[in-house]
């Protein structure tokens, strides 16, 4: 819930929102129509216009043989939803079969991720996995982990930002942390539910800085938008969330970013330092990537990874993501798999230290 709501903010503050939303609705209805046809044994689905350059990705000779179901583990209208729909349409163009994007929201991502893991491993069901797959099993919500899915390719990541109100007494991240060290528990932050991705970003940062995990306390919220409202109304002191989600408030001069938790600075905020620059070797953020059920055929994975990579490299994708405020971050199957394994371990360490494991 939280992630989708968070991300929808970033999306809906952009001027081209209306256009995109109506496009989305058309895509939904078109998708339904197409799926209706596909179910009645549609053979005309192979797109004759598929151009030869795509054939470089045609690794599996038998795939795809029919419509593909693309699971989104979050609600329609959110950030993961809009990225998934974009990728879904592009995949459909490239593979020449219908790709039906289906939202399976609920349970902090558990329901949708379970649907992806339980699908048939023949490539007819894939989905968008999000950072929560590396968190929810530590929390004790489910036994499902990255081992139950086949990572295919990553498409996005957004580092956490640290944002305070414009009139806050801290000018730099060091000042904020010093204050928290001197007055433990006085400063409160928000951005997600307790144990959500941005809460972990806060906890991880504090631990890496050698501080107590409660030196900055966490107030749960339904996402970064309500957290920002609390920030503006003076209810909390600092929000942890991607800077794109805070863009409107920062632009309006009501909030100030102090740092981001990325590997390098955000080109949109060239003056905002990374934590690494101030001596805290820590990075964390949300990410999204295409995955399927475990035990998928290597050729099918390779073909899908190749197509997804093609999409991620495309100008349309980069433009879409930039407009919506999302970071473009493509990783191939091996890199994505390795990344998930590392993420999973890192999340486990932080959650254990923060007492969030169930």
């Amino acid at each position: 819930m939280s992630m989708s709501k968070i991300a929808s903010r970033g999306l809906f503050h952009k001027p081209s929102r209306r256009v995109r939303v109506s496009g989305l609705a058309i895509a939904v209805s078109a998708g339904l129509l197409v799926s209706g046809c596909a179910q009645s044994g549609d053979t005309s689905s192979t797109d004759p216009a598929a151009d030869s350059s795509d054939n470089a990705c045609d690794i599996s000779s038998t795939y795809p043989s029919g419509a593909i179901e693309f699971i989104v583990p979050w609600a329609a209208g959110g950030g993961t939803d809009s990225v998934s729909r974009f990728v879904g349409i592009q995949l459909s163009d490239r593979l020449g079969v219908p790709v039906n994007v289906v939202n399976r929201d609920g349970g902090g991502g558990v329901i949708g991720h379970t649907a992806i893991a339980n699908g048939k491993a023949d490539g007819s069901l894939i989905g968008m996995t999000t950072v929560e797959i590396t968190m929810m099993h530590w929390q004790g919500l489910t036994d499902l982990s990255y081992e139950d899915i086949t990572p295919i390719a990553q498409v996005n990541s957004d580092p956490s930002g640290i944002t305070v109100a414009a009139d806050a007494p801290w000018d730099t991240i060091e000042e904020l942390l010093d204050d928290a060290r001197a007055n433990p528990g006085e400063i409160v932050g928000s951005g997600t539910a307790i144990g959500g991705i941005w809460d972990l970003a806060r906890a991880g940062m504090l631990l890496e800085a050698g501080m107590d995990v409660n030196d900055i306390r966490w107030v749960p919220s339904a996402g970064s938008a309500p957290a920002l409202q609390e920030l503006a109304a003076g209810g909390i002191d600092v929000t942890f969330a991607s800077l794109a989600e805070n863009a409107t408030m920062i632009g309006a001069g009501e909030a100030r970013p102090l740092a981001i938790m990325g590997e390098e600075r955000d080109p949109n905020y060239p003056d905002v330092p990374t934590l690494k620059e101030v001596g805290i070797d820590f990075s964390m953020g949300s990410w999204r990537g295409v995955s399927g059920p475990s035990g998928m055929d290597e050729d099918i994975v390779a073909e899908l990874a190749c197509q997804v990579d093609d999409i991620v490299q495309s100008d349309e994708y980069i433009e879409f993501m930039t407009t919506a405020g999302f970071g473009v971050d493509g990783k191939d199957t091996d890199a994505f798999t390795e990344f998930i394994v590392n993420e999973d371990e890192a999340k486990g360490t932080i959650m254990e230290a923060a007492g969030l494991t169930g």
């Binding site: 809906f12 939904v28 399976r104 558990v110 528990g185 409202q229």
Partner: protein, 502 residues
């Protein structure tokens, strides 16, 4: 403002939107004029369609449908002595008695014009009050949201009809169901019995579709209503007579408008309750008050209550859009649709999506104007509307209930929820429990809990903040006033009675 308004006009002026508004209007009149089928049910059945529309047409369809349905509820009241929607229940006796005495056309005509003017008044209140309230709401933190939601819960039970004990039990059922799933603040699973499907909690839209849609079908099948033959009415000169009558009772109409708008603005109380309150006030204030609902029927209470229920429809959008806290059951459904569309109601909506908001305002006024011709045709064709056989209608409703529930999350769990709540709704209604508090408990429960937990975690359980923040205190006092409403009502009633002989 001008910029937003011109953008809004260009958004509204599309064929798609006009078509949606017209279709939703006809649909609303149809559902509203069939006894037992409520405006809430009409909204619930619209859900699957709303998912395929852009946000504005989706919202416009629900708005248009609901204003039409609330008016059309008057039609069977006058013709067969059965209110089409609960909002018309207050003055059903007066309407019917007028019809029996050959003045049915006047009763319906006055109802139509009172509804349209009431709706426009409520719309204007929405247009002018909502942006101001949104500025105040920008300063709201979790304490204030906690109180607004508590106010909604209180209003849902206290200002309802019938037994307040039963209302409270219904509310508690809703609150209990809202705790199922992942706990909203610390992510702890509750009442899920290890099922990962239930982690997501009980979505309130399929629950409402069951409560208001399926339960009605069950009621119809288990105890079919007697076939009522509607009385024919003469519609010649209908609007002219109605207009002059309405003018004679202009004070009553204004009173109804004000009461309707005020009650609609309260979170948790909408047009149904507004009509009862306006009826009571009109009755207390009128010379012939004690004869209302008897004899040859009276037009004055129809003026008051019929303008109040439509004024309440408009102002119920105020808490919905400003705080994200629904004004009544219809706006609860609208809220669900908005969230699915990625539109997050709240004060920031007034900055970030001003054109959308202004378009909603325009649709409101337009829908109430459109009500006059559509309502006129409905009154003329009323005999036909009441003759649609149940054997055709009920299967269609079941089909829409299933499709609508499934479309929420593409899962069968929601269809199951709808079935369970359909049976629950039937049983509750049989036992004379109101259904609206169940829904409001379900919708407001998480809001109360979330904001309470946020507040106490923020201050490490310093509860005084709930009382000492100025806006919190004001909202708390408002809640207490609502709690004391039954006592106040008696007092005011007594005062008015004492005044009368003078």
């Amino acid at each position: 403002m001008i910029d937003n308004l011109s953008q809004a006009f260009s958004m509204v002026a599309s064929w798609e939107l006009l078509l949606v508004v017209l279709a939703a209007g006809v649909y609303g009149i149809f559902i509203g004029s069939i006894p037992g089928l409520t405006a809430t049910l009409a909204a619930a059945l619209l859900v699957p369609f709303a998912f395929f529309l852009d946000p504005l047409p989706a919202i416009a369809s629900i708005i248009t449908m609901s204003v039409m349905a609330i008016f059309a509820g008057d039609i069977p009241s006058a013709l067969v002595r059965m209110p089409g929607t609960p909002a018309s229940a207050a003055y059903v006796e007066d309407s019917y008695r007028l019809t029996q005495n050959g003045r049915g056309a006047l009763a319906l005509g006055v109802g139509l014009l009172a509804s349209a003017t009431g709706g426009i008044f409520g719309g204007l209140v929405l247009i002018f009050a909502a942006p101001q309230l949104a500025k105040v709401a920008l300063l709201f933190t979790s304490y204030e949201y906690f109180w607004v939601a508590i106010l909604g819960l209180t209003a849902a039970v206290i200002i309802s009809r019938g037994s307040q004990v039963k209302g409270t039990i219904a509310l508690l059922i809703g609150l209990f169901v809202s705790t199922i799933g992942l706990d909203i603040s610390v992510g702890f699973p509750r009442f899920t019995f290890g099922s990962s499907d239930l982690l997501g909690g009980i979505n309130f839209i399929p629950a409402m579709i069951g409560l208001f849609g399926l339960s009605q079908v069950l009621r119809n099948v288990i105890s079919p209503p007697p076939a009522a033959l509607p009385i024919r009415i003469e519609s010649k000169g209908l609007l002219r007579n109605a207009a002059s009558t309405l003018w004679n009772y202009k004070k009553t109409a204004v009173g109804g408008n004000v009461i309707g708008s005020a009650i609609g603005t309260l979170p948790g109380a909408g047009g149904d309750i507004a009509a009862w309150v306006a009826y009571a006030v009109t009755k207390n204030g009128a010379k012939e008050g004690k004869n209302f609902g008897s004899g040859t029927g009276h037009i004055q209470p129809i003026v008051g209550a019929s303008s109040a229920n439509n004024a309440g429809v408009g102002s119920a959008y105020i808490p919905t859009l400003v705080f994200g806290i629904p004004g009544d059951t219809i706006t609860a459904i609208l809220l669900g649709v908005l969230l699915v569309k990625g539109v997050q109601p709240g004060p920031s909506l007034f900055d970030s999506q001003a054109p959308l908001l202004y378009s909603i305002f325009i649709v409101f006024i337009a829908a109430n104007i459109l009500m006059i011709p559509l309502g006129y045709l409905a009154i003329r064709g009323s005999g036909m509307l009441l003759r649609v056989p149940n054997s055709v209608l009920m299967p269609i409703i079941v089909a829409f209930c299933v499709v609508g529930s499934f479309s929420i999350n593409n899962g069968l769990l929601e269809v199951g929820i709808m079935l369970i709540f359909g049976i629950l709704g039937y049983l509750l209604e049989q036992a004379k429990f109101p259904l609206a508090p169940v829904v409001l408990g379900l919708v407001l429960g998480p809001i109360v809990e979330k904001n309470f937990m946020q507040s106490v975690i923020k201050t490490e359980w310093d509860l005084t903040q709930f009382l000492t923040r100025p806006m919190s205190a004001a909202l708390m006092i408002l809640t207490i006033i609502v709690l004391l409403y039954p006592v106040l009502q008696k007092l005011i009633g007594r005062l008015l009675r004492y005044r009368k002989p003078l």
